[in-house]
Symmetry: C2
Subunit: 243 residues, 2 copies
Amino acid sequence: MSRTAPTAALNLAKEATRKTPQNDRIYEEMLAAILEQRLAPGTKLSEDTLGEIFDVSRTVVRTVLQRLAHERIVQIQPNRGAFVSEPSPEEAREVLQARRLIEEGVIRLAAKRRTEKDINDLRQMVSEEQQSLDSGNHQAWVRQSGDFHLKLAKIAGNQTLTAYIRELVSRTSLIIVQYQKGNLSSCSCDEHTEIIDAINGGNEELAAELMISHLNACEDQLSLQNESPESDLFAIFSKTSNS
Amino acid sequence: MSRTAPTAALNLAKEATRKTPQNDRIYEEMLAAILEQRLAPGTKLSEDTLGEIFDVSRTVVRTVLQRLAHERIVQIQPNRGAFVSEPSPEEAREVLQARRLIEEGVIRLAAKRRTEKDINDLRQMVSEEQQSLDSGNHQAWVRQSGDFHLKLAKIAGNQTLTAYIRELVSRTSLIIVQYQKGNLSSCSCDEHTEIIDAINGGNEELAAELMISHLNACEDQLSLQNESPESDLFAIFSKTSNS
DNA sequence: AAACCCCATATTGTCTACATATTTTATTTA
DNA sequence: TAAATAAAATATGTAGACAATATGGGGTTT
């Protein structure tokens, strides 16, 4: 009975976000569409078209596009429009580097703060990942794999870092869409399980090493050897035009 | 003469950002106003008023406010308006924790990649910091101190991490405005100098330790013992109302 | 006199219209 | 026929108008 403050504060927080549901709804739908590969990288996102689809004016669409642009999921070219981002190999390496750096720290925090329930939740998530992998549901696996890393950030208990990881995970999904070579190896779930075991045992150092190895393995599964599009053009034509 | 691609790509990049200067100009001005404490935390940012000040419509103002909101410099309350953020002590601790985590990694990268010019630039920046400190120019010092950390991120060479640090530095400035107790200690410049010496010597481990200590020292200079506003209210009145 | 309700006012959320920039297409010329 | 140019069409950038929501004051009721 005493101390209703937390509940009140929570309700207040919910109240604060209860409105502008249109923005959020459209944002979620567009993000999902991009991450589930229904919108390929490079696709033009016409304001009029999107407005018609979601039955809102361009004003609302622009708000959503600007939000997605800030998260680097779409790129806005002034006076030309918004496009689904096509991360360059350099950008891909950068994102993975940032993830190694941040998630190494996050996993150490998570190892310190994890509860029994957290461990159970994580194991449950890996189990579902494995199911998607077994059934060949690539899209679901990419999303669930990202959710696993996001859950670790939430366990670490820092909202700022969680927001950054959410962003990086989204961008990674986009990168995987573009650069994944061949089929995905099934070892990923095992790596996730190893990480759970490490933080369950409170072994920060091991957990950190496993996380870095895991992200390195992810990067190794990508074909990032090629240069950026423009440079490619010059490289491709230099043989004939420069001779 | 051969390989004009990089230059072409650079020009293209400049072209891409040459427009929408209005957004950027107003964004920069508002950010400066907030970080220089001309707009205090909690200040209502009326769309009409700002539109009148900058001589643009609310459309443009809203775009800028949404951008600042995404960077957590302003808070948008639906149907109520935008306000300069008032970071809670919890949020302050979170930001400093995120900075320790990210900047430890960044300083290691910077130590690996720094050039002679970088070191000179950094020493020059610290020198200017010292001048502002000596002349009692608090505002300039806060900005320059942030620029130092931002420069380190640029040396590390990861644009994603640089963007995150820029955001965290801005938020830290806002936090300092709210929670700095007493005068600022002059040791900060010395700490920056020590960090430069460490990365100049290529001593990653030392540089990382110094950076963490430095950020801890920053946090220790803040008065973060109080709880968040809401909780405060309940704590304050619980003695009388609950008896 | 105090508390409550309703309405007036002001501000934000959204839509539509117009201005400006880009892209496409059609026409002209070499 | 192909290239270049001009004009039309299309899309984005901005402004202003209307709708919805929150705030504050005045009046009524107990």
